[in-house]
């Protein structure tokens, strides 16, 4: 067996195992930590696929920013393992069977592909930040700018949604409390 095959198998086993552990663990904090491990293995897959910039972005954005946000929200809510009683095993069994049959159908459809090209391990500089930056700022300038507008609207939307009640309601409640 080649070295890349062994590496691929080890990384795949870790990623599938951490995905399953993310589902099985009762404590949401452990789920977040398993998902961070999964994102690190996916970054290693990106490195094997000549996507060095995407690997770094995956670690920074997903494992660094998004999962820290998840962890922050989980710890803010103070969720324990007891808050989600895992009862109704029959529904869970139905869910697992449905997911398994979806996997079976998809894999059996994929296995019929005649064109089984190898993903070669090769030297290429198209995943480096120099080439990607040139592509991003020459060919995809307009989507880049539109994504900045998307981020702005996401920031404003998150602030508007997560805001506390309107000040008029708070003052009304306080005045009612005072009058009573």
């Amino acid at each position: 067996m080649e070295l890349t095959t062994i590496l691929f198998l080890i990384l795949s086993l870790i990623s599938i195992g951490s995905a399953v552990m993310m589902l099985m663990s009762r404590n949401p904090v452990y789920s977040v930590l398993w998902l961070i491990l999964l994102f690190f293995t996916i970054s290693a897959h990106y490195l094997m696929l000549n996507a060095q910039f995407l690997a770094v972005v995956n670690i920074i954005v997903y494992a660094g920013a998004i999962m820290v946000l998840f962890l922050f929200v989980v710890m803010l809510m103070n969720l324990n393992a007891d808050t989600e009683p895992m009862k109704n095993y029959r529904l869970q069994l139905v869910g697992v069977i449905a997911g398994g049959s979806l996997l079976l159908i998809l894999v059996s459809a994929v296995m019929k592909i005649e064109n089984n090209q190898p993903v070669l391990l090769m030297v290429g500089d198209y995943g480096l930040i120099k080439v990607l930056g040139k592509t991003l700022f020459q060919k995809f300038v307009l989507p880049f700018e539109i994504s900045s507008i998307l981020f702005l609207s996401a920031i404003i939307g998150a602030m508007v949604i997560a805001k506390r009640d309107t000040p008029s309601q708070i003052t009304k409640g306080e005045t009612e409390k005072r009058s009573s």
Binding site: L23, A51, L54, L79, T83, L102, V119, G124, T135, K139
Partner: protein
């Protein structure tokens, strides 16, 4: 590695995400499963871009393989924006109902 191995890996990760959405009732875990599905699709896109990087089409246009990675990059950007809004919605639900169990959150059905 063959492309089929990557396809099967991405399918397994995607199916684990679907199963998680079906069997878990914690809204945050369901949201994390959606992120898992997004990452499986990203991995598949990068694998396909590398498969076609040496093809004849790629030789005709020099930025062929970079385009696919830019596509994955934009998916990550949209996912980051989606997570902020989704988590704030979950915070709002928790503040109103003191729970993130999706079985309690069935008022939109009616």
């Amino acid at each position: 590695m063959d492309i089929k191995a990557y396809i099967v890996l991405a399918l397994i990760l995607f199916t684990i995400g679907v199963t998680g959405v079906l069997i878990r009732r914690n809204a945050i875990i369901i949201f994390m499963c959606i992120e898992l599905m997004l990452n499986a699709v990203n991995l598949l896109l990068v694998a396909f871009s590398k498969m076609h990087a040496m093809s004849a089409v790629a030789k005709a246009s020099p930025t062929f393989a970079s385009d696919a990675q830019i596509f994955v990059f934009f998916i990550m950007v949209v996912a980051a924006a989606e997570v902020t809004v989704g988590l704030s919605i979950i915070m709002l639900l928790y503040r109103n109902t003191r729970s993130v169990d999706v079985n309690f959150l069935n008022r939109l059905k009616y």
